[in-house]
Structure formats: structure tokens, C-alpha cells
């Protein structure tokens, strides 16, 4: 398994696209931090980058990579290796290389410029978001054999989590404006890793007071060690569950 992972990572790192992704991230982050006059603002601008670009790239790149390595997978399957091992190594390889790219591209400037606690949070959240969307890519690509369809599904997933979900939330808030929905919202954000990540970071910045009463409810929950633990567990579930489903499907798939 180690050898497969190593092989996949090397294969991906040789890919020019991932290099481009790293350079893009680093240009974005360095420029954001040097353009904005204070680091908190830089961090807020970078937040949008992390929550938009990183998921988009992670999910699309992984989906395409999986389709392109169909032949390689078939080749591996002809060897005496267990299917779960192959699929897991692919997942590990993709995730690790994307995490590396994120760390080099965005992580270093974040660690240099931003205050340590928020920066660290941003780094962790970025790692989680990358992993979650790789995992979703695995699910998208196992659902259908058709490459175009698969990429379509993954882009839709991205669109849903970054934009549509927030629209739904807003709609729901206006429908339920008469009710105390704050606590319910805590539960609801768990259904979207991107929102959860965004709120986790906002709560660590001093803009959190602007979130008002709802923000206070969130802070009461996510501000505690228990809440943070819960949030990370949820993000971890988001990273594992889609992959796990795809793993089961891959095991039983007639290739």
C-alpha cells in the first residue's frame, strides 16, 4: 500500500496542474496579505479563497484524476492486491498531495502573517476542506462511469456546498423568522462543511461580535473545547463517510 501511495503522490506531483495550483494559492495568499493593511482583513479575504478555490480545485482535480487513472486501477486490480487497498491508496495519495500543495501555497504565508491561533485554525480548516472535497470526488466518480457526468456531479456538489446551501439557509431563516432558530442553526451548519469551516474561523476573529445574538449562541457552543471537538468530528465525518460509501461501491463494482 505504501508503495502505491508513494507512486501516486509522485505521479501527481509530476503533474503540472498541481504545480499551477500551488503557485496560484501562493500568489493569492501573498498578495492578499501584502495588499491589505491589516492582517485580519487579509485573513478574511483569504477565507473566501480557501472556501471557494480549495474545494473547487480539490473536487475537480480528484474526479478527473480518478477517471484518468481508470486503466492504472485496472492494471493494479490484475495484481494480487485487495480492492480496498487500491482505493484507499488512491485517496491517501490524492489527499496528501493536495494538502502539501495547500500547505506550501497558502499555509506558509498564513503562518507568517496571521496571529498564531487564527492562522492555525485556518490551516486546519483548509486541510479539512481539501480532504472533504477529495472524499466527495471519490463518491462522485464512483457513481457513474461517464467522465462528463462525474465531473458534472462534482461541480454540482461544489456549487451546492458553497452557494446553494447558503441560499437555502437564508430562505429558511426568513420563513422561520418568528421562531428561535439559533440552536437549530448550529445543527444545520453541520450539514455543510464549508459553512462550518467559515463560522469556525469567524468565531476566532474579532469580527465575531458582529454576528450578534446568533453569533453568541455559536460562540457558546463552538467556543468551548467540547464544541470545537464536535466541529472537528463533524468535519472528519465529512471526510470519511463519502469516501467510505465510495469504497463499499468500489468493492462491489463490476469493472
Amino acid at each position: 500500500m505504501k508503495r502505491i501511495v508513494k507512486f501516486i503522490i509522485l505521479d501527481i506531483l509530476k503533474n503540472k496542474i498541481i504545480l499551477f495550483y500551488t503557485v496560484l494559492l501562493s500568489i493569492l495568499s501573498w498578495s492578499v496579505f501584502s495588499l491589505e493593511d491589516n492582517n485580519t482583513k487579509g485573513l478574511l479575504s483569504l477565507l473566501n479563497v480557501v472556501l471557494l478555490t480549495v474545494p473547487l480545485f480539490a473536487i475537480v482535480f480528484s474526479t478527473i484524476y480518478l477517471y484518468n487513472s481508470a486503466e492504472f486501477i485496472e492494471l493494479l486490480l490484475s495484481q494480487p492486491i485487495r480492492r480496498s487497498k487500491i482505493w484507499s491508496s488512491l485517496f491517501l495519495g490524492l489527499t496528501l498531495s493536495l494538502l502539501l500543495a495547500y500547505f506550501i501555497g497558502a499555509g506558509i504565508p498564513i503562518l507568517i502573517y496571521s496571529p498564531p491561533d487564527v492562522g492555525f485554525m485556518m490551516l486546519i480548516v483548509g486541510f479539512f476542506v481539501s480532504t472533504v472535497f477529495v472524499s466527495l470526488a471519490f463518491l462522485a466518480s464512483i457513481i457513474t462511469r461517464d467522465k462528463a457526468k462525474g465531473i458534472g456531479i462534482s461541480i454540482l456538489l461544489w456549487l451546492f456546498f458553497t452557494i446553494l446551501f447558503d441560499g437555502l439557509i437564508l430562505f429558511m431563516m426568513f420563513q422561520l423568522v418568528e421562531y428561535p432558530i439559533e440552536k437549530m442553526m448550529v445543527v444545520f451548519t453541520a450539514f455543510n462543511p464549508v459553512d462550518l469551516s467559515r463560522i469556525l474561523i469567524l468565531l476566532h476573529l474579532d469580527v465575531s461580535v458582529m454576528l450578534g445574538y446568533t453569533g453568541a449562541v455559536f460562540k457558546d457552543f463552538f467556543g468551548t473545547k467540547m464544541g470545537l471537538f464536535f466541529a472537528f468530528i463533524v468535519l472528519l465525518l465529512w471526510a470519511i463517510v463519502p469516501f467510505y460509501i465510495s469504497l463499499i461501491k468500489f468493492k462491489n463494482k463490476d469493472l
Binding site: L52, I169, L170, M173, F174, I199, Y213
Partner: protein, 397 residues
């Protein structure tokens, strides 16, 4: 009884060993010189028009039991003392220095530390409180009094004091024709300046910093607020300046920096807000729909998350000739005024005002999309909430 004013010296090896003795023999217009020592004399009551000068900052200690100095005479000056540890009682409010029903009392250059109330004036006229340093380390609102507390007074001058760690830094209730000038009020638990039913007052060149809830000015008319700095009042219910039921007032040359809300207005009318700087606030201004005939002009709005928000569609105020850093218009005729009007209200700020929980979507991609589209084709924000002459460049303020 008419005689020459005398000079009484209090201190070790002097004529008087305690201030109380000296006060007993003193009569009007005498001068008391108090030499350095720690005087624990309980409550000092001043009943004559005397001048009390501390030399080398003698200490008056209330031992946590007494009101330290009570002034019950006119034409009293107290200067150069360190007054500390007054008692704590919510019924009779013991103070560092309390002035009862007097006029022309001067309180100069004292240091007041850890008193329940610092300086307290009631039913006073023409008093001057200048150059005092008033400090306490209050933690809860009900455990500590105000730094400078003025009640039912007239023609006061509060100048160059430093107040920190009290409940309200400076508190005015039913005080008229007074001036608050060049004070610094910071780290107070509630308000830096709390101002109620106090007409015809001015406060000029003060600094209000990191107070629990900023500055509150309420139920007052004809107040002038000029060249003050309101900074870092940051918290759930903190405002740089909160105006409630204010009329005919003038706000100019103030700096609002890093407050959750720069200026909050509710039920105010006929106020002119001009030449202020609103920089890096959460909300630059929140103007409730209950405000009318206010004029907001020639201000700089820079780096605020929301420049302005309001809670209704009725607009009875004018917002012309300001500089908005979010303005994206152009200036073809080069007259330094943007050619297209500016809508300072963002859609999201409207949404948040109607539905506070939606602040949760703050900084999400969808919200920025909504805002951008609303900027181009305004549909939901009130049409007449508009700056018809937005400036292209920020004013030098």
C-alpha cells in the same frame, strides 16, 4: 468676625497634626497647606470656603469605610491630593470627593484611586474639575460607581481628567450649560460618557477608548460633540456613540475607529453630522427609521464592514457629499464629485437588520454575490437612501 485670611499648616511637626483639627479652626478664605503623610481621618467635611493645598501629594485614605472628602461650602478649592479607598455602599454612595449643593468649587490635580464613586457633584453650579486622575479596578457594574458623576448641576467645566475602570467614566444627568473638554475616559465597565437629560452641553476633544459600551447620549437637545475620538469600543452591545432621542445637535470632527457600531441613532432629529471620520468599524452608522431631518455630510466612510444600515424603508435624512471608500463610480467632468449617485446601503445589511440570525452568512460567497447584484440593480434597498454627490477622494480630516 471680619479678619484676615490665615494660612494653616497640617503635617508632622506643624501647628496641626490632622486635617480635621485644622478644618475645625478654619474660617472662610483660609488656606490649608497639607504636608506629605497618610491621613486616615474618616470623613472630612468642609463647611467653610477654604483653599486646601496638598504639598507633595499627601494621601487621604477612606480605609474602605468612609466617604473621604465632603464639600458643603461654596468657593472651596481642593488640590494636589491622593484620595483612596472610599467606602462601598449603594444607599448613600460614598465618594472620593463629593460636593453638596455648592457653587464655585474647584477640584484640581488630584489622584483618586479605588473609590466607589470618584468625584460626585450634586446641585452644583460653576464648578471646575480639572486635571484629576481617577482610577479604579471595577469588574462588575453594580460593584463600582462612576468616575465623575454630576447630577442636577449647571455651568460645570470638566477638563483634562483621566478616568478609567469605573462604571461610567463621566456621568451627566440633568446637567446644563456645561463643557467636557480634553478628558480621557477608557476601560470603564459601562459607558465612557453617559449623558442624560443634559441640555446645552458641549464635549470637545475627549478620548473614549475601550469602554464596555462606548458613549451614550440620551434624551437631550442642543449638544455639541466636536473633535472627540471614539475608539475600540468593541463588543456585542458596544457603540462608539449611541444617540437616543437627541434633537438639534451638532457632531463634527470626531474620529470613530474600530467600534462595533460607529454611530447609532434612534429617534434623533435635526442633527448635523459633518466632517467626521468613520474608520474600520463594523457598522459605520446605524440609523433607525425613527430618525428624521438629520443631515450627514462631508464625512469619510473608510474600511467599515457596513457603512450604513437602517431598519425601515422610510428615509427622512440626507446623506449628501460624503466620501465612501466602497463607491465605484466615475467622475467625467473632473469636479471631484462622482457622476452617479451612491447607494450606501448594502443588501446584506438590510437583510441582517430584518433578520439578525442571517449574519451567520457573513463573508459567505453567496452574500457577496447578492450584494454585487444589488449594487448594480437596486431593487430591495430603499431608493431614496442615496448620496447624490459622493466625493471621489477622501476629505482631509
Amino acid at each position: 468676625m471680619l479678619g484676615l485670611a490665615r494660612k494653616l499648616e497640617v503635617g508632622v511637626g506643624k501647628e496641626f497634626h490632622s486635617i480635621k483639627e485644622a478644618l475645625l479652626v478654619s474660617s472662610d478664605y483660609d488656606t490649608l497647606y497639607v504636608l506629605p503623610n497618610v491621613y486616615k481621618e474618616g470623613n472630612l467635611v468642609i463647611k467653610h470656603s477654604v483653599f486646601i493645598q496638598g504639598i507633595g501629594t499627601p494621601v487621604l485614605d477612606g480605609e474602605g469605610k468612609y466617604e473621604v472628602v465632603s464639600i458643603k461650602a461654596n468657593y472651596v478649592t481642593i488640590q494636589g491630593f491622593k484620595i483612596q479607598n472610599s467606602g462601598y455602599a449603594t444607599l448613600d454612595d460614598p465618594c472620593g470627593i463629593k460636593v453638596y449643593d455648592s457653587h464655585n468649587v474647584n477640584i484640581f490635580n488630584n489622584i483618586l484611586i479605588d473609590n466607589f464613586f470618584g468625584i460626585y457633584l450634586q446641585y452644583c453650579q460653576k464648578c471646575i474639575i480639572r486635571g484629576n486622575k481617577i482610577e479604579a479596578n471595577g469588574t462588575e457594574e453594580q460593584q463600582i460607581g462612576n468616575g465623575i458623576h454630576c447630577w442636577k448641576s449647571d455651568s460645570l467645566q470638566i477638563i483634562g481628567n483621566l478616568v478609567s475602570g469605573h462604571r461610567d467614566g463621566i456621568y451627566f444627568e440633568f446637567v446644563t450649560n456645561s463643557i467636557i473638554w480634553r478628558n480621557i475616559s477608557k476601560f470603564n465597565i459601562r459607558y465612557g460618557l453617559h449623558f442624560m437629560f443634559s441640555n446645552n452641553d458641549s464635549y470637545i476633544s475627549n478620548v473614549f477608548k475601550k469602554n464596555g459600551a462606548g458613549v451614550a447620549v440620551m434624551f437631550t437637545h442642543k449638544v455639541k460633540m466636536i473633535n472627540n475620538t471614539f475608539t475600540e469600543n468593541w463588543g456585542d452591545a458596544a457603540y462608539g456613540l449611541m444617540l437616543k432621542e437627541i434633537t438639534d445637535s451638532y457632531i463634527s470632527g470626531n474620529h470613530f475607529y474600530k467600534n462595533t457600531v460607529g454611530i447609532f441613532m434612534e429617534g434623533t432629529s435635526r442633527i448635523k453630522v459633518e466632517r467626521n471620520v468613520l474608520l474600520s468599524n463594523g457598522w459605520g452608522m446605524r440609523i433607525q427609521a425613527s430618525c428624521m431631518e438629520n443631515e450627514v455630510k462631508c464625512n469619510n466612510f473608510v474600511g467599515n464592514t457596513f457603512d450604513i444600515s437602517t431598519n425601515g424603508s422610510l428615509v427622512l435624512n440626507s446623506f449628501n457629499g460624503n466620501y465612501w471608500d466602497k463607491y465605484e463610480g466615475y467622475d467625467l467632468d473632473k469636479n471631484k464629485i462622482g457622476d452617479i449617485p451612491y447607494h450606501p446601503l448594502s443588501l446584506f445589511s438590510m437583510i441582517v437588520e430584518k433578520n439578525p440570525p442571517s449574519m451567520l452568512l457573513f463573508r459567505s460567497f453567496m452574500v457577496s454575490l447578492l450584494d454585487k447584484s444589488e449594487k448594480i440593480i437596486p431593487s430591495l434597498t430603499p431608493e431614496d437612501f442615496i448620496d447624490n454627490a459622493p466625493l471621489m477622494h477622501s476629505l482631509v480630516l
